[in-house]
Symmetry: C2
Subunit: 331 residues, 2 copies
């Protein structure tokens, strides 16, 4: 083989293996982010922790990034999408469960009386989840979720819920994965409500999803090993539960956390108080035209304490209106 | 560039990307496995599920393999190594906890009276774990485990515990990972007892370790976010708890499971009863010269029901004496 050809082969192999000469941020990265300080802060952090030999270099195996789901990766208005799922499901199951008519909260849910349900607070939501998410095997529940997510539509936008995923956040997760981050979802929502579609929609496999859960029991039914979902709470992955969930499932402290509400405050504190370079980011819903605008006074997705602490702790705050050129997922 | 050089470049790139022409089993794979039926069964399974276009092909993302730890990846005699850790720790902490002298089980542990401790059954073990594993932060506990695992030695072999890892099983995990399996540990032992060294010793990162756990609480102490370990059981990852733990942490059913005792029975049932190609394997401790020989009558690591079911379900049984040319990790 000629010398010239050998050199060409060598340089091709080297660039394949070493990624030599690739700029850290490329034209196709973070395309839906406007060129604001927010985008610069993200890129700056990623460059600092991935520059080999740099003072703040972090080994790939320690590059854990955690993302809240509701309000951070997709919308959460007029109420959490999982609640819409529960409402649809309770109507479907009601004919076979006449006893629910005697329970005020379940009856309200069947009748679509949102006001009564929301007035019942967390207790009411748990009652509805128990009625609609338990009593079947994990495999059956997965099928129910898949069917729903592929068909159900949002009441005001008319979009399918899975189309109300934020394009800039998808790009951000891809950008991080390209730089050898593991991207995890850490959500107050149900873990088994997200896992059936997290890979397809977010590129996040089920084993990188952390969420709230009900108990599950192993049973051999008619000779067939099954996992049965029980009407009993197992774990609430919200507020102070988020660092606990992170520790339980991941076993190491993330170096970057992305949230949007006070439910993410403790996750942001825990992530950003570790040693070395850390990154905290809050999605602030400021765009009432393209999405929804809300913060300190909202009952769903309230952002109050965490917004105050963001300023104190140097967390990056996304101004959706200003920072994002596109909001929803591109088709 | 000449045609010849172009062809060479193309074929090099193709072989890099496609792994074309690489035999499925190579000379350096599974070196400590003798050429018996057991080795053939492993290789045959891996070839079937990784042959693209084959009837039993499994996509890489579904290639989950789960391994029990005690007795499967390392020894467990004369008693679980974590219990040795607890004994060492209780002696260390005893001077500062004079009240333990009034508790018969804790006093026995401090005095090294193994007989009394073991006679107390599971309840006694839990009491000792609560006393020795709780009350400190997760970070502090991690340091304690690391210090112990690097120094403590086994009472009869004189080896450090981390040297009593099975070489053939290390090779098996490497062989599976080379074929794009994710290798998970699913152990009855404490999750936080394994995570600090699982990557270094087994090549398994902390986020792929499932185990028993105590509860943890998030707290900001003197302005510092901390996770405090509480003296309260959270989850027992043993027997019927193993499929539950697998579902909770991984969220999909493994296609291969490796165990050694009745504590792994349900994990093997759950794994091998799924659709498509499945593999179940039991390590049978038959070698009293190089390790320890025990099965149906052993109090630690009893293998009775699972050995009977292995024959019925077509699980592969490793005969350590016959199938392994080396037992412990090579230095």
């Amino acid at each position: 083989m000629k010398m010239e050809a050998k050199l060409i082969i060598t340089s091709m192999l080297v660039s394949l293996v070493m990624n030599v000469g690739t700029p850290m941020i490329q034209a196709q990265d973070l395309k839906s982010w406007n060129n604001t300080e927010t985008k610069s802060a993200i890129v700056d952090f990623v460059e600092r922790v991935t520059t080999d030999g740099g003072a703040e270099f972090v080994r790939p195996e320690e590059r854990i990034a955690v993302f809240d789901n509701d309000g951070t990766l997709w919308s959460e208005k007029p109420f959490y999408f999982q609640l819409a799922f529960a409402f649809d499901r309770i109507k479907e199951l009601a004919p076979k469960n006449p006893q629910w008519q005697d329970k005020p909260i379940l009856k309200a849910a069947i009748d679509g009386d949102l006001k009564t349900v929301l007035a019942g607070g967390e207790h009411a939501l748990i009652e509805i989840v128990m009625a609609t998410h338990a009593g079947i095997t994990t495999t059956e529940f997965e099928d129910v979720v898949k069917r729903w997510i592929n068909t159900a539509k949002h009441p005001t936008t008319g979009l399918r819920y899975q189309e109300m995923v934020f394009q800039p956040m998808l790009e951000l997760m891809q950008y991080l994965r390209k730089h050898q981050f593991e991207t995890w979802i850490v959500s107050g929502g149900g873990i088994e409500f997200m896992r059936p579609w997290s890979k397809r929609v977010y590129g996040v496999p089920p084993q990188q999803v952390v969420g709230s859960s009900i108990k599950v029991k192993y049973e051999v039914r008619d000779g067939i090993p099954s996992l049965i979902r029980l009407p009993e709470l197992d774990f609430i992955d919200d507020k102070a539960g988020k660092p606990v969930g992170i520790h339980k499932f991941i076993g190491r402290r993330p170096i970057a956390a992305f949230g949007n509400s006070d439910g993410d405050l403790e996750m942001l504190q825990w992530t950003t108080s570790g040693d070395g370079a850390r990154f905290g980011l809050i999605v602030h819903h400021t765009d009432n035209e393209r999405e929804f605008a809300y913060d300190r006074d909202s009952s769903v997705g309230r952002l109050d304490k965490a917004l105050t602490e963001a300023a104190e702790n140097g967390w990056t705050v996304v101004d959706m209106k200003k920072d994002w050129s596109t909001v929803f997922k591109k088709k």
